[in-house]
Point group: C2
Chain length 83, copies 2
């Protein structure tokens, strides 16, 4: 089994209202050293195979076509063998 | 500067409809070895300080009280000095 963890984040140039809301709330609560918060997604995909190269190729395709919006989001991933 | 990356995931016992929808779609598209998909959040917090222990304590409190719902979500985080 292989687990791929995909991280999808808004590009740095894209405004993140959810992150801004958390930043404001934390400042209000007294966390004065919090400068910025950005919120993204993590998508964990379990593959029933053990060929890392094949999984990596599939994950790349899945990210580019389905999980991330290339106009506003960046993605990265790591792949590990589990069990 | 310190960057804390917080990962918030649904507990394994909690149904993840978004993950199930992605699994179905991937199977439909021919990714036959995909067994399961779970979707979570990643929250990156920038702190303007360099004391890892202090930041770690703050992040623990922020996670437990604000970022995760302890009834249905688990969280983990890592802390790294940046710049």
């Amino acid at each position: 089994m292989i687990k791929a963890s995909v991280f999808v984040k808004l590009k740095p140039s894209v405004l993140d209202p959810q992150g801004k809301a958390i930043t404001s709330k934390l400042t209000e609560l007294g966390y004065d050293s919090v400068m910025d918060v950005r919120v993204g997604k993590v998508i964990e995909i379990q593959f029933d195979e053990s060929d890392k190269a094949s999984v990596s190729e599939q994950v790349e395709k899945i990210c580019a076509t389905m999980l991330a919006n290339p106009n506003i989001e960046d993605y990265s991933y790591n792949i590990e063998i589990v069990e």
